[in-house]
Each structure stands twice: as structure tokens, then as C-alpha cells.
């Protein structure tokens, strides 16, 4: 035996197919388990992905810069000057792909039939468009066209509640820096539809310069919203923005701006792993059973091999290899199955029947499963590592058999 490894790997492979029915059943079990792991992971990832994306769109941006007191006291008093030259330079460097300075103040909007409290956003439409923070769909009228636009764009739900509509006048009320109530009549130029109905009631969009004029704050803004790259990698680049912004401003990544979103992501990652391990544990009983049986049937054969001089280590290796082949094949089939079933679902699963329930969790009406390579790798790692660990016991017992006793057993 010059190449013991080649020999035992051939032996292991052939042994696997000596009882092909048993092997096929176990293979099917592993494949179903692996499929379930990946499928569930893709659904959950799709769900959190969307929750985070919706959350980031509302925030908006992955990183925001504020005046130090703004978050504790979101008032017009805590406005900030537009970005300095140093910060501007940092905002032009990758991975930043877009940024926008916006005014964000609490306000009351009134029609002749009612009033609601809202968040008034003074935006620069061109910059917000690249940021992706403008409402998704204008259902009537037009979008804002310039910072100096004197109209407002309101949500469809808010319009219904105020009994107002396109072209009608509404009154915006807020406070200036001296806490005088300021108000202005404006015309509704557009009505938007948002993925989350709550946002339709909450956000009123107006031109930035127009809002600055109403509040009498010159060219000051409330916040700078910045986006770029994958939201999971924000920790890598936000410190650079923070340094450029300087100490007088507070620069925070989304995980701290919205701790709920941040914790969602961590919970989901943990949950995926727990799910995979649980599925594997349910599988492992069958796996160990199969190996125990395989060893049991071959006690005499193993005794003979030992009597002929095969070392215990090689016998252990042979059983482990058999298990490895079984796991590997199961993984292959399971992965192929998962990709094949997720592909047709990539265009989204309609869950509008439970849309309002999902909205409580920050989700839209369509769920897009997200198949990520790291979930496939994670399931592979779980199955191989835990699978080989579980196989150790039967394999160890096989390698410790006493050749004489094993041979004489009937």
C-alpha cells in the first residue's frame, strides 16, 4: 500500500454504495436539510434586507451628520451650516456615491378640513434623487423640480385625511429660531405613494430654499445624509467622514441612528445560524445511525483488514471519508435544489395579504428572497464540521475493534 489514502478513499466510496438504498435515503435527508437551511436563510435575509433598505430610505442614507444637539432636540435652533470645504472633499471621494443636505423640522399641515402633525423636509430634488430618498412613485401631479420650488409634495394617505388634493392650498406651520410660529400657504403640486403607509402620513416634501426662507435660517440645514457602498460595510468608511466633519458635528452610522435596524441585522444573522444548527441536529441522528449500521454490518470485514495489517488510523479515516462523501453529495444536491427553487422566486413573493402586519416590522408587500453565497458557505460549514464531529464516535469504535474478537463474531 504505497498510497494508503488513495486506497481508503476508493474503499470508502465503494462501501457507500454497497447499500445504495440506505445511502440514497440518507442522501435525500441531507439534501432536504441543506435545502431548508439555504431556503430559510434566503427568505430571512430577503426580509431583513428589505427592512434595512426601507429603514435606510426613511433615515435616509447610511451616515448622517448633524449639529451636536440636533438629535436630542430636533429643532430649527440646532441647524448647521452647509458642508465646509474639507467635508465637501471627503463627500466626493468613493465609496460615497451620493449625499444631500436637507432641512428637517417638525411642522403642522392644515387644510380647510383638518390638520396633522408632520415632518417637513426641505430638499434639493436633484441630490435626493441620486440618494434614493425621494418618494418612489408620484401618483398625481409632479415631483419637486428645484430647491426653490414653492410647492409641496404630500402622501396619498395624508391627502385623504386632510381632504385636500392636487392644486389645492394647504398651510404649513412651524417655528423659527426665535420660537415664533411661522406659517405659509403653499400649493400641493404632487401626491406620492410610499411603500410604507406610515411614511405617507409623516413626510411632507418641499423645496429646500423655500423652507429655509419660511424658517428664516439663510442657507442652514438640519442634516447631511450620505450613502455609498454596501450598508453592511459602513463601519469602514464613516470614521473618515467624521474626521472631515470635525468635532463640532455628530457623525453617526445608521446602526447608531436607528438601533432597532442595527439589532435586526444581528438578530437575523444569529437566528440563521441557530436554524441551521437545529436542522443539522435533527439530521445528525440519522447520519450517526447510518454509520453505526455500516460499521456493525462490517465488523468481521474490519477485523480481517486489521488482521491483514491495516492500521486503526486508516480504518478511522475510511469511515470518516465515507461520511464525508455522503455529506458532500447531500450538500451538492441540497445547494442545487435551493438555487433551483429560489431562482423562480427572485422576482418576489407577494405577501400583500399580511402587508399591514409586515409594515409594523418595516416591511413592504413583496418579499424578495436574497440568496447570498455566505449563507451557502455557512450551511456547508455547519454540515461538514458538525457532520464529521458526529461521525467521529462510530468511526473511533470501528478503529478500536479487537481483530480476533471481530473475526470470530458471527
Amino acid at each position: 500500500m504505497r498510497y494508503p489514502f488513495a486506497t481508503i478513499s476508493t474503499l470508502a466510496w465503494r462501501n457507500l454504495w454497497r447499500n445504495s438504498r440506505r445511502t440514497l435515503i440518507m442522501l435525500a435527508a441531507i439534501a432536504v436539510g441543506v435545502w431548508a437551511m439555504i431556503f430559510m436563510a434566503a427568505l430571512m435575509r430577503g426580509m431583513t434586507d428589505q427592512m434595512v433598505r426601507n429603514g435606510l430610505q426613511t433615515l435616509p442614507g447610511e451616515v448622517q451628520v448633524h449639529q451636536r444637539d440636533y438629535r436630542a432636540d430636533p429643532s430649527v435652533v440646532n441647524s448647521m451650516a452647509p458642508p465646509s470645504r474639507g467635508l465637501l472633499a471627503a463627500l466626493l471621494e468613493p465609496p460615497v456615491t451620493a449625499w444631500a443636505g436637507r432641512v428637517r423640522v417638525p411642522a403642522v399641515i392644515s387644510s380647510e378640513r383638518g390638520s396633522r402633525s408632520v415632518t417637513l423636509l426641505g430638499v434639493d430634488p436633484a441630490a435626493e434623487l441620486i440618494l434614493g430618498s425621494l418618494p418612489e412613485k408620484i401618483v398625481a401631479g409632479r415631483a419637486l423640480d428645484a430647491p426653490a420650488d414653492r410647492g409641496v409634495v404630500i402622501g396619498a394617505s395624508l391627502a385623504r385625511r386632510l381632504e385636500t388634493g392636487l392644486g389645492k392650498r394647504v398651510v404649513l406651520m412651524s417655528q423659527d429660531t426665535d420660537n415664533n410660529v411661522v406659517d405659509r400657504g403653499v400649493r400641493v403640486v404632487g401626491i406620492y405613494h410610499a411603500r410604507l403607509q406610515g411614511n405617507e402620513d409623516r413626510f411632507v416634501y418641499a423645496g429646500r430654499a423655500a423652507v429655509q426662507g419660511l424658517l428664516g435660517i439663510g442657507d442652514a440645514i438640519s442634516e447631511i445624509a450620505i450613502t455609498g457602498d454596501d450598508y453592511r460595510r459602513v463601519q469602514h468608511w464613516y470614521p473618515r467622514i467624521a474626521r472631515a466633519a470635525g468635532d463640532e458635528f455628530e457623525t453617526l452610522p445608521w446602526t447608531e441612528l436607528d438601533p432597532f435596524l442595527g439589532s435586526m441585522l444581528a438578530v437575523q444573522d444569529g437566528f440563521t445560524l441557530v436554524f441551521m444548527v437545529v436542522v443539522f441536529l435533527a439530521l445528525s441522528f440519522g447520519l450517526v445511525n447510518t454509520l453505526v449500521m455500516a460499521v456493525f454490518e462490517r465488523v468481521r470485514e474490519i477485523g480481517l483488514m486489521q488482521a491483514l495489517g491495516m492500521r486503526p488510523g486508516l480504518i478511522l479515516g475510511q469511515i470518516m471519508l465515507e461520511s464525508f462523501y455522503l455529506l458532500g453529495l447531500g450538500l451538492l444536491v441540497g445547494n442545487v435544489l435551493a438555487v433551483a427553487t429560489l431562482k423562480p422566486l427572485a422576482t418576489g413573493i407577494d405577501i400583500s395579504a399580511v402587508a399591514q402586519g409586515m409594515e409594523m416590522m418595516g416591511m413592504g408587500a413583496i418579499l424578495y428572497p436574497a440568496l447570498h453565497i455566505q449563507d451557502m458557505l455557512m450551511s456547508t460549514a455547519v454540515v461538514i464540521v458538525l457532520g464529521l464531529l458526529a461521525s467521529l464516535a462510530p468511526a473511533w469504535r470501528a478503529s478500536r475493534l479487537d481483530p480476533v474478537a471481530a473475526l470470530t463474531r458471527d
Binding site: 438504498r21 440506505r22 435515503i25 440518507m26 435527508a29 432536504v32 436539510g33 431548508a36 430559510m40 427568505l43 430571512m44 436630542a72 432636540d73 429643532s75 435652533v77 417638525p106 411642522a107 403642522v108 392644515s110 380647510e112 378640513r113 383638518g114 390638520s115 396633522r116 402633525s117 408632520v118 385623504r160 385625511r161 381632504e163 406651520m173 420660537n179 410660529v181 438601533p259 432597532f260 439589532s263 435586526m264 444581528a266 438578530v267 444569529g270 436554524f275 441536529l281 435533527a282 439530521l283 441522528f285 440519522g286 450517526v288 445511525n289 453505526v292 449500521m293 456493525f296 405577501i351 395579504a353 399580511v354 402587508a355 399591514q356 402586519g357 409586515m358 409594515e359 409594523m360 416590522m361
Partner: protein
């Protein structure tokens, strides 16, 4: 005891390890299923109770359309009197009238839009948990007039404390200008950012006067002793004079908080996926074991057939073996799962990071699994049935067995 049963029981222990591994797979899945189902039912119960007790109540009487549009003129006439009549009805636990309007609240330094609720100070604490969350000062009392209780975030934003004055402006029921000054008597902290940021409560009588409501309100909130009484009480309310022929509607909690039931439904769906995977994996494990045990006894079965035993009786034998195996799994699994859930029902269960999510449904961070006949038996019974179904194939194979060929099999 029937001899076949004894035979089946003894056959089971011919491969001690294999039997225990198969039973182990069942017990593991059963414990997990009992735990998960109890956890699920427990958290649903808490979600419903928590959300409804916080503010909406079980049933509300409102003007038709108010739920959707929330126009101030969509009111309930003589709300206090209606509430008193409902309170006298059997089947109601607590009843209170409310009125709501949006207003701009201003302190000496800040202005914010708020949702102002007019409440009956004597009855409100029995229908809502918010009055119990007053952290500073006191809740409204009978006889209070120009007093207001506000959320903690609102208090911080407005920079007011107990004893400070708040001015608010809004529009009355008839479209008139409504303004008032109230003294802050209490600050509540519900832990819900949205509520703490925008909610304020004043005495109903003063609210009615301020917003030109006359005797009208916007809702009569009703709590019943248990969820199962909701439909009966709602039915009785619909027959009430003044409700039946007026423009009022009786809304149960499903209509008031549609998201709640949907959140439960969507959670249910993903949970069923997990459960099915577990059951299928266990079924595979049983299939494998029973198939092996049938195949290795081919010769034995051949002899029995040759001696005149019918294939049907052999199949029954395999069926009985599976039944005993599955019953063992069921018994141990239910016992283990019951113990675990029973302990956690007492001690509570925490999953790190989920607290933020649970806050959205107004729960504490701890989940108490609900142990009931349903949660104890649903999962294990599914596993039991799955195991029996899995044994069908090995049992049915026996009908194709030829005695002579079987006796010669290796």
C-alpha cells in the same frame, strides 16, 4: 398481551443503539417542537394582550369612516352618555370615551405637532396602560380642567417640565380656530418612541369645549374580560339603540389594529416551514431505520412466510414496531418538552437582541411560553404520524416477498 406485540417489542431491542438513535431523533424534534409552539403561542398571546391593553382596547365605537380618514367632524354624538350606557351593559369590563385632534403645541422655546387626546380621567386608566406609565408628576384627575399629560420625548423636545405651560393651536370641529393653554401635570414614558414623541392627553370636557365638539367624542373604548368574549359583546353593542340606526360602527380589535393579526399570520407561516422540515427529517430517519430492519431480516421473514404466516401479518408486525418506536418518541418528547416549556413558563425566556423588536408590540423583553394541550401535542403528533407514514414503504415491501428467494437471500 398479544404475541405479535411481544414480538414487535423484542424486535425493537435487537439493535439497541439504532433504536435509541431513532427515538433520540424523535425526542429531540419533539422537545424542540413543543418548546417552539409554546413559545409562539405564548408570544402571540402577549402581543395581542400587550398591544390592545396599551391603547386601542378590545372594541371601539366610532363614526363610520373615522378609522380610515380621521376627520375631526366624524364624531360620536353624546359620547360620555353613550359610554355610560355601554358601561351598564353586562360583558364589559371597562369603558371610556375619547376625542382626538392634531395640534401645534408650543412651549416658551419650542413648537411641535402633537396628537391631542381628550380622555375621561376617571375611566381612562382602566382601558389603557399609558396612564400607568406616568414617570413624573401625576395622571389627570377628575375635576382637572386646564391640565395636560405629555410623552417623555415630547417633554424633552419642548423643554418643559411639571408645572410649565403649553400653548396649543389647532382647528375645531366646525373648522374654527381652536387655541388653549394648559399646565403640564404629568409626563409618561411608554418606551414607544412614536407615542412618547407625539402624544398628549387632556380632560375630555375641556377638549370638547376647546375644539367646539359639544357633547361629541371620537370613540368609545371598551375592554372585555377575555378575547373570546369580543364577538359576543360586539354583537350586543351593535344592537344598542343609538348605535344600530345611527352612523356609528362597532369595531373589534381586528379592525382597529389589522396589522396585529397579519403579523401573527406571517410569523405562523415561517414557523410552519421550520416545523415541516423537522418532521420530514425525522420521517427520513425512521424510514431508514425501518427499511434497514426489514432488509436485514429478509431470511427470517422468508422462513416465517414459508411457515404459513401471511404477508399482511408481517406488515402488521413492522407497523407495530414503528408504532412502539414512535410512541416511545412521543412519550419522552412530550415529557421533555413539557418540562422545558413548563420551566420557562415559570422563569421566562430571553433571546438576545429581540427586546427592541418586542417593544414594537408593547411587550417586556421576556417571553413566557404558553403550555397547553395544543402546544404539547401538535408537534409530537405530527412527528408520530410522519413516522408511521415513513414505515409504509418498508411494510408494503413485505407483500412482494417470495418465501423461497427470501430464504436464500444473503
Amino acid at each position: 398481551m398479544n404475541v405479535t406485540w411481544i414480538l414487535a417489542w423484542r424486535n425493537l431491542w435487537r439493535h439497541r443503539r439504532r433504536t435509541w438513535l431513532t427515538v433520540g431523533a424523535m425526542v429531540f424534534s419533539n422537545i424542540l417542537l413543543v418548546f417552539l409552539v409554546s413559545l409562539q403561542l405564548g408570544s402571540y398571546q402577549m402581543m395581542i394582550d400587550g398591544s390592545l391593553a396599551a391603547f386601542p382596547g378590545h372594541i371601539q365605537i366610532q363614526h363610520r369612516g373615522y378609522l380610515q380618514d380621521q376627520h375631526i367632524y366624524q364624531s360620536v354624538p353624546a359620547a360620555v352618555e353613550l359610554a355610560a350606557r355601554v358601561r351598564a351593559m353586562p360583558g364589559t369590563e371597562a369603558v371610556a370615551a375619547r376625542a382626538e385632534a392634531f395640534a401645534l403645541a408650543s412651549s416658551a422655546e419650542r413648537s411641535f405637532g402633537i396628537l391631542l387626546t381628550g380622555v375621561q380621567p376617571g375611566f381612562e386608566p382602566a382601558v389603557s396602560t399609558f396612564p400607568g406609565k406616568v414617570r413624573m408628576g401625576r395622571y389627570l384627575e377628575e375635576g382637572d380642567s386646564e391640565a395636560i399629560v405629555i410623552g417623555s420625548v415630547l417633554a424633552r423636545n419642548l423643554k418643559v417640565g411639571i408645572g410649565d405651560e403649553l400653548t396649543f393651536i389647532g382647528s375645531g370641529r366646525d373648522g374654527s380656530f381652536a387655541a388653549g393653554v394648559a399646565t403640564v401635570v404629568g409626563i409618561f414614558d411608554t418606551g414607544l418612541e412614536d407615542v412618547d414623541r407625539s402624544m398628549a392627553q387632556v380632560p375630555l370636557a375641556w377638549f370638547q369645549q376647546l375644539f367646539a365638539m359639544g357633547e361629541a367624542g371620537h370613540s368609545v373604548v371598551i375592554r372585555v374580560p377575555g378575547l373570546e368574549q369580543v364577538q359576543a359583546t360586539a354583537g350586543a353593542l351593535r344592537a344598542l339603540p343609538g348605535v344600530a340606526q345611527g352612523e356609528l360602527v362597532v369595531l373589534d380589535w381586528n379592525a382597529l389594529v389589522p396589522g396585529l393579526r397579519q403579523a401573527i399570520t406571517s410569523d405562523m407561516t415561517s414557523a410552519w416551514f421550520t416545523y415541516s422540515v423537522l418532521v420530514v427529517l425525522v420521517a427520513f430517519s425512521v424510514l431508514n431505520t425501518q427499511l434497514m430492519s426489514v432488509l436485514e431480516r429478509t431470511r427470517e421473514f422468508g422462513v416465517m412466510l414459508a411457515l404459513g404466516m401471511s404477508p399482511g401479518r408481517l406488515a402488521r408486525l413492522v407497523g407495530m414496531e414503528t408504532l412502539l418506536l414512535a410512541a416511545l418518541g412521543l412519550g419522552l418528547g412530550v415529557a421533555g418538552g413539557g418540562l422545558l416549556s413548563g420551566y420557562l413558563n415559570h422563569a421566562g425566556f430571553v433571546y438576545p437582541g429581540v427586546e427592541e423588536m418586542m417593544e414594537r408590540f408593547m411587550l417586556g423583553g421576556r417571553i413566557y411560553p404558553e403550555v397547553s394541550l395544543v402546544s404539547l401535542l401538535v408537534g409530537p403528533l405530527a412527528v408520530f404520524i410522519g413516522a408511521l407514514l415513513a414505515a409504509l414503504y418498508p411494510a408494503l415491501r413485505l407483500f412482494r416477498l417470495q418465501p423461497v428467494a427470501a430464504m436464500r437471500a444473503v
